[in-house]
């Protein structure tokens, strides 16, 4: 199904229905807000980020990726008490990067997805850290161990999320 190491013209590009485009991010944000109440460990996961990466790599369109990431991030920001834009900027960067990378490499292999998710999770956290500390003035703590561990946990969950997204994506 996947086209490996191909030029941009040969890469499979997918799209999602409008319903899926709206509902899936909403469900992701909802679960991210609801599940930590029952399972406190769930705060280490970032479902909206996984959905952003999933959409971006499937569409392989940087513009669509940054817009999707930006909107999901702003939605996530709106639920917090922090200024709106922290997650928005982080996910905009991730959406753009994931789409751009999706054009160049195979992103449908579970191994690649695992590594990419760790990479993008760390990128997301770095951008968030810089913005939150530099612009908003929040006290932030950085721990590579924590970030890599969380990234790995998100990557495992991401493989499942991407598999679910594969079921609803449509070939163009």
């Amino acid at each position: 199904m996947a086209t490996i190491y191909t030029s941009g013209e040969q890469v499979e590009v997918y799209r999602f229905s409008i319903r899926a485009t709206i509902l899936i991010p909403l469900i992701a944000v909802f679960l991210q807000a609801f599940l930590p109440l029952r399972f406190s460990f769930f705060t280490i996961f970032d479902l909206p980020l996984l959905v952003t990466i999933g959409f971006a790599t499937a569409r392989r369109n940087p513009l669509a990726g940054l817009v999707t990431g930006g909107l999901i991030g702003i939605l996530q920001d709106s639920l917090t008490h922090q200024p709106i834009g922290l997650y928005g900027i982080s996910k905009t960067v991730v959406g753009f990067s994931a789409s751009s990378l999706g054009i160049k490499i195979d992103v449908e292999n579970p191994g690649t997805r695992f590594l990419l998710t760790i990479l993008f999770y760390v990128v997301h956290e770095v951008v968030y850290f810089v913005i939150a500390r530099g612009l908003v003035g929040l006290h932030m703590q950085w721990s590579w161990l924590h970030e890599i561990g969380s990234g790995a946990a998100n990557a495992v969950l991401g493989i499942l999320v991407y598999a679910l997204l594969d079921r609803v994506k449509q070939r163009t």
Partner: protein, 490 residues
Amino acid sequence: MDVLGRYRNLIVLVGVLFAQVLGLAVQVKRPTDSGSTHLIRIWAVGAVTPLEKALVWAQTSTHNLWHNYLYLRGVRAENRALKQEIERMRLEEARMTQDADQAHRLQALLAFKEQFISQTLPAQVIGSTGSEMSRSVYIDKGAHDGIKRDMAVITKDGIVGKVLYVYPSTSLVLLIDDQTSGVGAILEKQRLQGILRGTPSGEVVLEKVMSDETVPVGEEVLTSGGDGIFPKGLPVGKVTRISPGSELFLNIRVWPAVNLSHLEEVLVVTKIDERQTQPDQTGPVRAVDILAERLPTVPPKPENAADVAGKNPIAPAGGSANAAAPKSTSPNAASPIAEGKPKPASGAATADTKPKPSPGAASGSVPSPGVPKATNPATGTANHAPHTVPPAAQAKPNPTAGVASTGVPKTGQAKTVGAPSPAAPVVKKNVPAGTFSAGVSPAGTSAASVQAGRSPASTQPPGAAKKPAPKPVSPAVPPKPQPAVQDPPQ
């Protein structure tokens, strides 16, 4: 043009990022509650929270159906009611403890004001922000329910946080472990004040305590009331670790009293009353007074009744104690109000707790001016009015008030005394028979004074009340004035 087309994606990315950074800068520059982002937040919350509410409702309904009807019908509901009662009483206890401590420390400050939680609204936690950087939760009550910004949120165990954003049907509660929160706190025993803050890692620390102070591990931390949000004296947590902090301050780690990661139901403090604390004028409470509060209604007797009894060994032992007893010559015996003690309602089920402004008969039927009415003539029960009578009025004997008991009633008679009252079994339970039969309390006070303050009408059997009383006995020793005790604030 070709360059623009070539770098179109990058240009758009930079543009989008620039716009967001600009928006962020505007929000940082201005307060977040200015309304610049309120609309976006309302939309987002409106999109997400209905789903959360529905899920929580379904979960709760299923849970309730199983536990209330299928599993143990009725028991759970009763248990819940009892837990709510415990919650209420814990809050009350915390407040009362603080009240007592405060009264001793601030007796001289008549104008001192204190805050009391007078109204709370239960709410259910329906969601979180899902972010480690924003430790907040959503509750299912909002502006429509009377929630306002900066209201305190608590549970039975202690404080949770404060209301930060209010939406029509939901509210965002900032937890105390968020790094942007701040709570005025005080160490329970050391009385050192500080500011409680959250850390980025979710811990709670007490700041601004000088490093030359000694703070023991395990010390309770309470709210100080200095933040204007939380009333004073609510539990915050316990000190778990102390380390040198920045500059001259200690870094005190506090383990929150509430498990903030497993919140389900909370109470929003919707109304706080501010009252002036009355200085405590009672001094130490005697055991006999406590005993007197627990006793059921008994006939009024003067404090020196034992002395009289001692001098009159031929006192009648049979018949009703009241019949043999001269009516009270002591204002202490005249009324529980005169004693100034708050009377538990266990004494008489129909105890009237409302103040009676009109002076009535102190005991028996003879009106006693200046002495608050002790007996509800309609019901024959004691008026447990939260009155404070001046010591002068208490000390003043009422010569017209009946006769005092000169005899030492037998145990059986003592039981009979309380028979008309529903609380009569309490006599048997709480008071050793010897106390009554001996007629003298362990504190050396006569049983009559122990029994003082009880409504005669509620204690006298109808027959006994009609019996002619012997001639009044003049007290050999004038009755001691009883200190006035102010009722605790409700």
